[in-house]
Symmetry: D2
Subunit: 353 residues, 4 copies
Amino acid sequence: MINLSCDYTCGAHTKVMEALVQTNGCHTVGYGEDAFSEAARAAIRSFFCCEDADVHFLVGGTQTNRVVIDTLLRPHQGVVCAECGHINVHESGAIEAGGHKVLPLPDHDGKIKAAAIDSCFYDHFHDPNYEHMVQPGMVYLSFPTEYGTLYSLKELKAIHRVCRKYNVPLFIDGARLGYALASKANDVKPSDLPKLCDVFYVGGTKMGALMGEALVMVSKRWRQDFRYIIKQHGALLAKGRLLGVQFQTLMSDGLYMEIGTNGCETAEQLHNGLEALGVEFRYDSPTNQQFPILPDEVIERLNGKVTYSWWCRHDETHSVIRLCTSWQTTPYEINQTIELIGQLLKEQSETPR
Amino acid sequence: MINLSCDYTCGAHTKVMEALVQTNGCHTVGYGEDAFSEAARAAIRSFFCCEDADVHFLVGGTQTNRVVIDTLLRPHQGVVCAECGHINVHESGAIEAGGHKVLPLPDHDGKIKAAAIDSCFYDHFHDPNYEHMVQPGMVYLSFPTEYGTLYSLKELKAIHRVCRKYNVPLFIDGARLGYALASKANDVKPSDLPKLCDVFYVGGTKMGALMGEALVMVSKRWRQDFRYIIKQHGALLAKGRLLGVQFQTLMSDGLYMEIGTNGCETAEQLHNGLEALGVEFRYDSPTNQQFPILPDEVIERLNGKVTYSWWCRHDETHSVIRLCTSWQTTPYEINQTIELIGQLLKEQSETPR
Amino acid sequence: MINLSCDYTCGAHTKVMEALVQTNGCHTVGYGEDAFSEAARAAIRSFFCCEDADVHFLVGGTQTNRVVIDTLLRPHQGVVCAECGHINVHESGAIEAGGHKVLPLPDHDGKIKAAAIDSCFYDHFHDPNYEHMVQPGMVYLSFPTEYGTLYSLKELKAIHRVCRKYNVPLFIDGARLGYALASKANDVKPSDLPKLCDVFYVGGTKMGALMGEALVMVSKRWRQDFRYIIKQHGALLAKGRLLGVQFQTLMSDGLYMEIGTNGCETAEQLHNGLEALGVEFRYDSPTNQQFPILPDEVIERLNGKVTYSWWCRHDETHSVIRLCTSWQTTPYEINQTIELIGQLLKEQSETPR
Amino acid sequence: MINLSCDYTCGAHTKVMEALVQTNGCHTVGYGEDAFSEAARAAIRSFFCCEDADVHFLVGGTQTNRVVIDTLLRPHQGVVCAECGHINVHESGAIEAGGHKVLPLPDHDGKIKAAAIDSCFYDHFHDPNYEHMVQPGMVYLSFPTEYGTLYSLKELKAIHRVCRKYNVPLFIDGARLGYALASKANDVKPSDLPKLCDVFYVGGTKMGALMGEALVMVSKRWRQDFRYIIKQHGALLAKGRLLGVQFQTLMSDGLYMEIGTNGCETAEQLHNGLEALGVEFRYDSPTNQQFPILPDEVIERLNGKVTYSWWCRHDETHSVIRLCTSWQTTPYEINQTIELIGQLLKEQSETPR
């Protein structure tokens, strides 16, 4: 079985697991105040060139989004995001459970445009009934987006400028950040991120960790007492060093970028191979998530051979699936997948209907 | 000045005010457990033919919506409504502040269709990731809608059937209920309402009361302990009898329907008069809110003579305004308004541009 | 029947009612942006000598407390108050429903001491696990307290100093503020309040209004966007001018203090009269709430003649009741009450048991 | 250094770690729907003899408590617990952040009595103002308690009866459940738990897992849609099988009880050894947490040799510390600790002051 349904179907990258085993017997204080976590913090600050930032380790993405948004917003404010944004669609209402409306803007290939964000703020503050409406209070982006697409540096700068103009924070969800940074199509450097946003997180779960997300609090405005809020959300891991050990490993010897690069390269190989077979794609993703449009019979016949995520219906006879590479995916597996799909497409086209 | 900006720009209907004056010196227990409130409850039960329902008096609409929705939903559930629904647009995020996502469906003249509601529920429960999404847990309608339009009895029955099919409650926001019931275009009887929904409220603030909404809890499922929840929301009026006295009056001698009828008749007169002048309307409203499309210069020149609410831009030179009649509006005022607009339109058409 | 169960068993003071009647036909904009509300704001600023403060009108006390506390606290903070504090005991968990723990301190005759508040803050920040505990983030006082007692100017100053020391806001619940200011025992001037706290409210409901509390936001820190939060809590009255008209009246011609004075003088008369009969009191209240300890049989026999609130059991044969005067109570009624209780005590003492 | 500060200062039990390593390369579906989690669920059902219960795996204790309490309570209800209860003291207000008041009862050695719980419910429902107060809606117990003490079977049965009497659920926090079940002083069998409460959880973090708590939902009343609520709280681990693998291991070959037994036996050895030195204890704990009262100078001199948690001041010259054993603690370490403390006490007693 070739596993392309998701980038978190197996355990941790071997090096991460080894580090956990090696440090298993050590005794440390809890709640992330140990030396491993401190070293991981230093490594992250160094990687993103933000020596002054606070770094916190949380367990998962939904949790991280909720903690950040609950912290950054006042009670009457909402968070602006793409209609397809993870917080709008796939977090079971976690943001609203924290009291805040999600204010979705139409997305284009998963992205929102600076101009649309500007209009959203402008319109709100120029509405005669503005006090009766939810005030947009921050902007949330995913990088890469839920569709695997990337904001260019220019786009991020434009969005950042809008946020500064209205004096609201920008938060970047980097659940798959490594696959963005490692993409050939990407022009955003790690050191750009702290300059372009107020808070971002560096995904671990989908980047080879057992679990864990590293939250980088660039802005000084919300730092005070932030650990209380993490604890209140049940997000302060008792054996916090588990997250420190993992991120220390991911940030060592270029492992984080290596994982990202493998994901992107195997995804590109997959993209090119399928494209050569005449397959079209729903979104033009340069990262580890690929969204080919395939005949339903072909998709059906993948079962038992290649795992995938069904995405959505495309037309009466075709659907979109998501194929997701990771640190683990090998060129050999991708070749096999392309061959298989090629074979299935050929058989399907020859079948009299 | 002719006041058509809103149906709550002045105090109470004279009879309501008289009743408040007459009872002002009486001593009663607080929190709605007095005899006036009890009598008002009986009158409402009788008017809507629901002898078995619980009736509670609250102060305002946003408050009532929030209390009801917080009571009916479990934490992971959201409320389905029209995109233009008051809870989605004009309550400063009150529903989300209570922890619940508002799930908007596209509206048609302010209304949502049974089929769209059905799809919303069907799609949710057939999504492979349904547990990661907000579960639609109830349906909210405004009757009349925010655009003054009305659901027909047939439409309400269809929506009710969908709610029963998915075993979710239907809540009807009747902030302007009297203007619906009194409309010539309406075929929903007061006695239909308790059969068609689980909870509804009978608006007072916009129907001639100083303030107050009468919540009719038809379903038995959420009755227990409901007063705690009212109190917790700061919605249990200390001198509760104020609401009882007002609703007792509104429900006596046909006053509630009389107010509704005056609002609808003067609105119809306004509609017909403007239509005769060639004015078009944004929505086809048979109730007390009318939405004419007028040249911006004409609207500008209404200032100081007729109050209105600016609604939205229609095209480069026209906007939509809302003109709102009430128990107080007289045919004479409407005639004057029509004449004035006729005059302004004439002058404007004669002006060289 | 003599009504002493509560200070909000009847309607409004005659002058307040008259003002409502006189202005009933006026048309104004809604939501408190009308001229009556503006005038009332000016009158309140003038009365409390805080020309620079923001004043907002809300409907009731629980609502006001919740709106203020939700605004002043960050998510991980709680509100310090007396164990008997209204927010801790009698608001159905409104504060917790807003997400905040109430942190009660033992009270002495309803009051908390500056030293105890200081310890509470000191201990928190010196606990090694402080991030795992709720951070005390503000202090809430009632003036007068729930037991009718008063903080002296010296006590308030000491508490204010502690709040400044820890940089947390002080909020004073003045649901019965007029009865404090008018008490002979009081040495706090209206002009002292804005200097001693960050937010306070001037009670209307218990001081002769139909309903309404005037919130005085002295501090500039939480002013921005405060009306959104009021609206979100369902606390922005549509016909906001109702509150403006009432407070304008209460603040005119010394009416607010006149009401307070009548409440305090009749309460003192009651106190002295009962004391002369040998009755003891649970709390030494110099305001309009009196808490005599009476034999259960005597209390029983008051029914039908004098209304009261049962407070708590004192010993096997005695209970504490609350007798509450107001703007309406007359010396004649008090005399009758004293005579009646005297008579009942006499009969009871003569009854062989 | 001997580590007795806490039972979660190191990684996982060797067998748990081995299982994680062995399964690291397996691909499974996420979110706890994998075969490992299913096997762990079966093992837990079997161990506690509750074949019909639902089992869910969460990451940490505060998270689990918040998810359960948010699920079991209606908005106006609070949770009754001991004053020293973890949810009341050490969860940064997580329960209140979910909207619910914690209703503490005085504890006796960490425990609350059935009679006190009964009074709490009785008093609430007999208060004339009950709707203005938070309704007690469930009972929370820790077993063992925060002080290491144990409820007897008889005590649990009595509390269970009170809960049934008032028709409220009983929730048992078993963060250290294995240390209770393995204690010589314990008379509660695993199979008793599902009969005595509605929900309980089986601690992993403090019992040899990297992280994780197994929630056993015995009652059918709150099962529906529970996974949505877990997800909404950010508590649904993406690589859910990590928890499954760990609990499967803990529940195999008696490992869970073996860990508990080692903790209890070394704690007993410590207790007896210190007692023989004349040391007194703050609480009479028969489980893995011991609370000796020691001279401050002795405590000071433990630093660098034995880790401990400072607990509270006992008198001017003595403090209480917590010494905590675990699966890892060896009799040799305990002997050394006793010897060291004996030596320090001797030196201290000989020092002229």
